[in-house]
């Protein structure tokens, strides 16, 4: 596998293969970060597109030489993009969004009860949607550093040292941030009395 430093060099020169490689490597993390912060998948997809378009447009100016530096840069773009989204939304009048068919189609599995699906059962669809809203709200209450630790460790699969380099912190500080992030999330989800949808699904699987 080609070292990330070489991929970065080639991507800076506009090489399509290198850009694709970076895109595939970082798409899950960036999408996960955004999807955990916005209420619906279509918004998450739109914002993820914006982030990667900015990556393509700005990579030739990037100074980072390693993966941690590149991740930090990309996550910074993602953070600014999400903040921009919330700023714009705050200026717009409140409205209810229509159900997104693509979203439900893909989510049918985890939320499915025997003999019913969110598509056919509107009550179940609303419940699932509300559950995820609670998760998003809880994640939005974490600090930015805590969110970035969770993304780095759980979605990008980095070890503690890489996340530490990404955040410019020591490994012990990252471990403490990780612990506090999960603890806070558990407390916040407990308050909302809504377990993660996937847990609900798993419990049902076990029960069967």
């Amino acid at each position: 596998m080609e070292a990330i430093e070489h991929v970065l060099d080639r991507a800076r020169q506009g090489n399509a293969e290198a850009l694709s490689a970076l895109y595939h490597r970082f798409l899950p993390g960036i999408f996960g970060y955004i999807a955990a912060r916005v209420p619906d998948r279509s918004t998450a997809e739109d914002l993820t597109s914006d982030v990667f378009v900015q990556m393509v447009e700005g990579i030739h100016r990037l100074r980072a030489q390693d993966e941690a530096g590149f991740s930090a840069w990309l996550l910074r773009i993602a953070r600014v993009t999400v903040a921009g989204y919330y700023r714009t939304r705050a200026k717009q009048p409140a409205h209810f969004s229509l159900p997104d068919t693509g979203w439900e189609q893909t989510q049918a599995g985890p939320f499915a009860l025997q003999g019913s699906s969110p598509e056919t059962d509107p009550v179940q669809w609303v419940e699932a949607r509300e559950e995820w809203q609670a998760v998003v709200q809880s994640i939005n209450q974490l600090t930015e550093e805590q969110r970035q630790v969770l993304v780095g460790r759980l979605l990008l699969g980095y070890d503690v040292e890489t996340v530490a380099r990404m955040l410019g912190k020591k490994a012990n500080a990252v471990k403490a941030l990780q612990f506090r992030a999960l603890q806070s999330l558990q407390r916040l989800l407990g308050k909302s009395r809504r377990p993660l949808p996937v847990l609900q699904h798993q419990k049902k699987e076990k029960g069967r």
Binding site: P28, A36, D159, K175, F179
Partner: protein, 380 residues
């Protein structure tokens, strides 16, 4: 026992290892590790590990293959478009220049002129010697900078330029740079005067108070520097420097009246008396711009020199060079004849008539030019 955050991290790493191993179709390494760790089993840590796993697996956070594919295609198209735009901009410029050689010549000339003027301005900014041809450019640059600033900034810039001017003086304090020294001293004087005027124009307030204090500091520094330079200077520069010190507010000798009492007989001694302020005993007499060996003594507030005076010729100028290097000279000399004779002049008009030779004492100055052995001879 390890702290909780350490244990949580160990467990998360273990789970990640398991996940990867399972992904590769291997045996579950966590099962072996768990047995050794059961003693450390902590329900809170396990709950957090479970939460982390659920987050990792949450389908809301997973990318759909369709979206991933479409976005990748969109990005590659966007990249190609960017490259095309970039290339066409570059190509169109080259094509235009190739098609119109006159335009490229003009552009080239403009670039050359810009480069040259930038270099000249950059070089001029470094110039400190007032005799350098670039010194004028530097002064012009400073002038433009000042003109383009607000009144408060103008005063600040004036102060800065006065400080810069002061810094150049020590490098010019030698015989080889006499002209440059005079010019630099004049420029310093002008700069300090301009600064004082600019500060005075400012409305009363904190800024004016601050700039006034900075101006006082510049004047104080100038006095210190000029005083230190005095011993290194030749007489004309010492005279000019003393004048500048006086304008900066320093205490320098000020003579209000000079009188010369000529001897009755040509072989007798003449008496030169200075009346004024801050006169210093031990000063040397200056006759027609040359230092004599005669030293003065203070008598009733007057500085008195008794010198051998051959002949009856009247000096063109008289002055004094103090032990601290300050000097003063005047052509307004009151001539008194020997007792019984007439008194000429009232100390305001030079009553002495220069000889065709310019009334120079015939004594030859030493190689340093400061110590002629003294007596002016008469020119008949």
């Amino acid at each position: 026992m390890k702290p909780r955050e350490e244990r949580l991290n160990d467990r998360l790493e273990q789970v990640e290892l398991d996940r990867r191993f399972h992904g590769l179709g291997g045996q579950h390494p966590g099962e072996f590790m768990m047995s050794g760790r059961e003693q450390e089993h902590d329900p809170e840590v396990e709950d957090l590990v479970a939460l982390a796993q659920r987050l990792q697996q949450a389908h809301h956070l997973q990318v759909t293959p369709d979206f991933a594919r479409q976005l990748e295609q969109r990005l590659l198209r966007h990249r190609a478009q960017l490259q095309l735009q970039h290339g066409s901009t570059r190509r169109s410029l080259f094509a235009l220049l190739r098609a119109r050689p006159a335009l490229s010549a003009v552009l080239g000339l403009c670039v050359l002129v810009c480069l040259l003027s930038t270099s000249v301005l950059a070089l001029a900014a470094q110039v400190t010697n007032p005799t350098s041809p670039l010194y004028g450019v530097r002064r012009w640059e400073q002038h433009v900078q000042i003109q383009m600033s607000s009144p408060a900034d103008q005063a600040g810039l004036d102060l800065q330029f006065a400080r810069d001017q002061l810094k150049t003086l020590p490098s010019l304090a030698d015989a080889a740079h006499a002209d440059a020294y005079h010019q630099a001293l004049l420029d310093l004087d002008q700069q300090v005067t301009t600064t004082a005027a600019a500060v005075k124009k400012l409305p009363a307030g904190v800024q004016q108070t601050q700039l006034t204090s900075e101006l006082a500091s510049v004047k104080h520094d100038s006095i210190q520097v000029l005083r230190a330079l005095l011993p290194r200077l030749a007489l004309p520069e010492q005279l000019a420097t003393t004048g500048e010190l006086a304008r900066l507010g320093d205490t320098v000798p000020i003579r209000s009246r000079v009188s010369l009492k000529l001897p009755v007989h040509p072989s007798n001694r003449a008496t030169v008396s200075f009346t004024g302020l801050a006169l210093q005993p031990g000063a040397h007499l200056l006759v027609n711009g040359t230092v004599s060996e005669a030293t003065g003594t203070l008598q009733d507030g007057q500085l008195v020199f008794v010198v051998e005076w051959a002949g009856e010729q009247h000096p063109h100028s008289l002055g004094m060079l103090n032990p601290d290097g300050t000097a003063a000279e005047t052509t307004a000399i009151g001539i008194e004849d020997a007792p019984g004779g007439n008194q000429h002049g009232n100390g305001n008009k030079p009553s002495a008539t220069p000889t065709p030779h310019g009334n120079k004492p015939s004594a030859t100055p030493t190689p340093h030019g400061n110590k002629p052995s003294a007596t002016p001879t008469s020119h008949h």
